[in-house]
């Protein structure tokens, strides 16, 4: 069956270090950072950016530095069941390429990979993502022209506002804690909304947004980044007022 083929595929990834880590004569249940990176590259994904997350999501990795046999077999096996993708290197590569192409275009798929990344990024013992890690991840997923890593698959910006830039400035000024799962997930939800309505007219303080998002909105208004829509003004656009 496909599981045998997948197990064989996994066996081929195993390096000397992994064998040593497992102990002599014992089956290797996980591969470490080096082998994992080699595998990601072999799938045609860029190890430096969000493409790596696409592969890691498929093989259900727990962290960036490790792929388990169980995750690898179950992950590809379910893709076989859903899409009838045969268990060989070439078909897997094609499938990964298709996923990478889909990432910027399919918001639901993007959200799946984005949310998956939270688990990849955090230390196993921790409940939350270190702030520095979260900042890097945001650049990878939502990067704009101002990001060091360049444009991400879904740049968080709108016509007049570089939202990711603003978000990072805000966090630098006001946020010292780590990023919990809710904040991570809600940041994307909020980002999607800002890209549709850059006046932030969708926001209101009675909604369930996390406090940090509420604070961000107020900060944006203070900074003049998003002007509160004038009451009664259609479309939230400002009226022209001439000076005499």
């Amino acid at each position: 069956g496909p599981d045998d083929a997948l197990n064989q595929l996994f066996d081929r990834l195993v390096g000397d270090e992994d064998r040593a880590a497992a102990g002599a004569g014992k089956p290797v249940e996980a591969i470490g950072a080096e082998a994992a990176q080699a595998y990601i590259s072999s799938m045609g994904a860029n190890i430096e950016n969000v493409e790596a997350f696409v592969v890691l999501e498929i093989v259900r990795a727990d962290s960036i530095g490790q792929i388990t046999r169980q995750g690898f077999v179950e992950g590809w096996s379910s893709i076989y069941l859903d899409h009838r993708i045969p268990a060989d290197q070439a078909h897997h590569r094609n499938y990964v390429r298709m996923c990478i192409q889909n990432l910027p275009q399919n918001p639901a798929y993007f959200k799946k990979v984005y949310q998956f990344a939270f688990g990849l990024g955090k230390e196993p013992a921790q409940k939350a993502l270190e702030k520095d890690v979260a900042l890097v991840f945001w650049d990878l997923f939502l990067g704009t022209e101002s990001s060091d890593t360049g444009l991400g698959p879904r740049p968080w910006k709108s016509k007049n506002v570089d939202w990711l830039g603003a978000w990072k400035r805000f966090l630098a000024e006001k946020w010292t804690r780590s990023v919990n799962k809710d904040m991570w997930n809600q940041t994307l939800a909020f980002a999607e909304k800002t890209m549709v309505d850059e006046t932030l007219g969708f926001w209101n303080e009675d909604q369930a947004w996390p406090g940090v998002i509420d604070d961000f909105v107020l900060w944006c208004r203070e900074q003049g980044i998003a002007k509160a829509p004038a009451p009664g003004a259609a479309g939230g656009e400002e009226m022209d007022v001439e000076d005499y």
Partner: protein
Amino acid sequence: MPPATMMTGAYGQQPSGSDGIDSTAVHNFCTSQKANGGSSSPSNHLPGIGAQRGAHLLGEDLYKKLANYLTDHLKHLVSEAEAHKDEALLAFYIREWQRYTNAAKYIHHLFKYLNRHWVKREMDEGKKNIYDVYTLHLVQWRDVLFQAVSKKVMDAVLKLVERQRLGETIEYTQIKQVVDSFVSLGMDEGDNTKTTLEVYRYHFERPFLEATKVFYQNESKQFVAENSVVEYMKKAEARLAEEEERVRMYLHPDIALHLKKTCNQALIAEHSTLLRDEFQALLDNNREDDMRRMYSLLSRIPDGLEPLRTRFEAHVRKAGLAAVAKVAADADKLEPKVYVDALLEIHTQYQGLVERAFNKEPDFTRSLDNACKEFVNRNEVCKSGSNKSPELLAKYTDVLLRKSSTGVEEAELENTLTQIMTVFKYIQDKDVFQKFYSRMLARRLVHSNSNSDDAETSMISKLKEACGFEYTNKLQRMFQDMQISKDLNTGFKEHVASLNMDGKPLDSTYSILGTGFWPLVPPNTSFVAPAEISADCDRFTRFYKNKHEGRKLTWLWQLCKGDIKANYMKGAKMPYIFSVSAYQMAILLLFNEKDQYTFEELASITQLNADVLEGALGILVKAKVLTAEGGEGGKIGPGATFSLNYDFKNKKYRINLNVGMKSETKQEEAETNKTIEEDRKLLLQSAIVRIMKARKKMKHQQLVSETINQIKARFMPKIGDIKKCIEILLDKEYLERLEDDELGYLA
């Protein structure tokens, strides 16, 4: 008396061109066709009967003749009435009405046979405009005489009433009789057993009300132009009473409601703005009677009082804020009593006003409550922190319940506690009060300086009544612990006596305080109790554990205290008694061994940490029980050496050295406030979990408002804090986010 004469007499005069009628004649007339079809009866004065056939036709003839007769009679009266006006006209109308109706009763009786047969048959067949004979009289009066003269009669009535309103004495029975007459004319034409008030209402009530309106409009317009509003209200009140009396004296009760409405409109509603504008001035000058009058006037018109309530509320709030501002000059040194008295004074004053001037009306009470809630929780003193009001109230309660030199009478104390509850009712953050109260109750109980058990119990039951069992649960437990401890100590004393020990046992008392009920924490320092007391402590521990297996005792040394006798002083006639803390005791007892110790030695023997040791020594040095030398910068601390002062002198023989330092109390307050914040978070989270557990799914906004509902009896939660708690619960995975701002409960 011959019937014809009676007839004549009945109507008062002989109508021309008509003959008298008698009952025999009527009977015969109606039945003649039975006798011999055409032969005339003995007194057949009515022509043309012989040609008619049957009772039917004869009856109709007779009925018509009667009607005509009445018409003629009444027409004559109408022409006579023209000669009269005003009171003379009234007299004439009343006199003729009485004669006429009297006669009508006779005639009705006379025409019994006609009524019973012909009239009945006609009416049964549904003929219109056929009445029994009495009603026929009334109908004729109405249609002929009343029609012509009623307006003139009414004019005379109104003139008379106006003269009375202007202060003259009038013959009001005349008006009453006119009213009766008008009412009588309201017969229900379909059913002669019934009457309606339509005629009266149209011809009497309507013009009467109109005249009343015009009269009072004019009068009040002129009056307010020349007099103050206060005077006007007195006038209006008198007028309204007068009109009510008028109804009672001579008007039909049917007019009462309409007349009242008319008067209310003309006298009050049309001047309501003027009245209300005066209200603030009355409030400012505390014109209670005038306010009562204004209230009773404006309560008579729809929506008359609402603007008053709004102003009242604003006024009370302002008065409360001003009263607080007056005492808040030095907020840090503010005496709790002064503050609470300031709040109470305003409440008492305006509650009195509501009772005396505003009829204890619930709506005014609500306005008072709103205003009090506002100034009790948000004022000058609370600027430094919204916890200030409950804190000061709890402190004042402590002052009252504590033993003091100025003994308060039991009854007076109870009274003051009741007043405390009045303010308590308005306190928004009841949890803050609870925190401070339980801390201070603990102190009173532990140091046994409570004024009276009865007063303590009374206060707790008052709080329980106001906030429920849960609120006072711990307070009650604390109280119980003290009772149980009393018995325990008695048992322990007996136990010790039974041990046949050498020497005098330590005179000790122990309090066993349930963990979790008392707002107390274990000491923040290690401590080795002096040998002099530790044997007894150990004995008690064994005694207790024997009684209650498995219970763990934690010594709260920081709360322990004792008396020690000092008999080493030179030149003292009798030994001094020092009241000391357990820590101070441990230090002083060491001086039984030698006269000098270094700070480090003391620290190592007692195991007290530096801060606590410094505090304990500080007071001993300050009181000159010990003298200090060395120490960095002359401070009591590392490097210092302490010696027993044999030259100690004091005026008093009992000296209290167990005094806490100012900084300790401040620290305690800060701690209390911190635990409040923590407790609130827990309270909010458990409320949220409780709600979500019951509802499984809920919109965020609904959850927030439901949480506020559940919590607001304890304190008013901030929306931001609720959101934070929701985030914590999301993080702990008690809750999850669902689509569309909805939250779900994760079991």
